[in-house]
Subunit: 210 residues, 2 copies
């Protein structure tokens, strides 16, 4: 979290933070990374530029905070139907990635570029504090999604000897790989194939002898 300095603990700070981040998110989605202007974000949020820079000293800090905020907007539901829950979860992840990939691109533009998704990865690589922050956000969020898999193991829907963290990577990793590397589409039919592939060997009916 950013240093708050003398304003630490004032209740309305959270509102200011959120107002800034929502303004930044909205402008990022419209303009993309290169054209995002911190001054414009401050203006839209109705705060002084110094207020914004005190919290997020660079554009990289701001976009990583925006991504952290967006992550928390993805609910993870455990309804007891692992295929349905994974489908719901992966669709939300894919929708978020596709939205970030297309941010700032004109309608109908070639959308194979990773766009803002790659800029966030590079921001995390360039600044040690941002790397630590974003990895903590993903660790916390991913633990919840891995919990879905662990819950399915406990009720017998998935094999008891499953490495749920590895299975999780095989569900989510392909989405990021396509967005960040190959540029291939991450659409709903693809998600179904990924879930089919991951669950096929993970069901107890296919268990190897112990």
């Amino acid at each position: 979290m950013p240093e708050r300095g003398p304003s630490r603990g004032r209740p309305r700070d959270i509102d200011v933070d959120r107002r800034i981040l929502i303004a930044a998110r909205d402008l990022l989605l419209v303009n993309g990374y290169a054209a995002l202007s911190i001054d414009e974000v401050a203006d839209r949020a109705g705060v002084a530029k110094t207020t914004l820079y005190r919290r997020w000293p660079t554009k990289d800090h701001l976009i990583v905070a925006v991504v952290a905020l967006m992550q928390d907007d993805v609910p993870i539901l455990d309804t007891g139907d692992i295929r349905a829950d994974l489908t719901d979860y992966l669709r939300q992840v894919a929708d978020g990635l596709n939205t970030m990939r297309r941010a700032g691109l004109p309608e109908g533009a070639d959308d194979r570029s990773a766009g803002v998704v790659a800029e966030v990865a590079a921001a995390a690589a360039r600044h040690a504090d941002l790397g630590t922050l974003i990895r903590a956000v993903f660790a916390r969020r991913n633990a919840m999604a891995i919990g879905l898999l662990a819950s399915a193991v406990r009720r017998g829907a998935l094999r008891t000897d499953l490495d749920v963290a590895v299975l999780f990577d095989q569900l989510v990793g392909p989405l990021y790989y396509r967005i960040l590397v190959t540029g291939e589409p991450v659409d709903h039919p693809y998600l179904d194939l990924i879930i089919d592939g991951a669950l096929r060997g993970a069901r107890p009916s296919h268990a190897h002898p112990a």
Copy 2:
């Protein structure tokens, strides 16, 4: 490929290109992205700066060309043992990613950052020509690795109804996901778990009824 202008077709150009790219790769691995200096690359390769800029107009163009070169250094062998061949292939991919992740970091530094891997992804996202180039490189290389899987299907080592492109993503995607997003280690034990997970549902003995 870069425009060659009037020098197109001169046989020694390929040597010059390769000399520049090897100098760039060596300096990139030692210094990382931020500290990479194009002047220093030209100096080390023994070429005029203008020669280098004519081929690769920005640092981003240069590092993407370096990655394309490194990709071609990875041999893909089909020995008829799919597990052994995948292990060999994934180890080479992981070694390359880990080398790029650590490029420019002092010995013993925290190496959870994606480092140059993220800079390459961002370079491809920032420049449409680089995005097109790097996606073409990956498409060509990945087709060879997917060919390994298709060959295993043909000889009955993998299910005939397998989507080999999806299986490939579930093998390689997790490596990039860990490097670029979660920062978790991509070591040999992890690769074994990924291969176990991918092959478990892909073997014909686990086939669903058609």
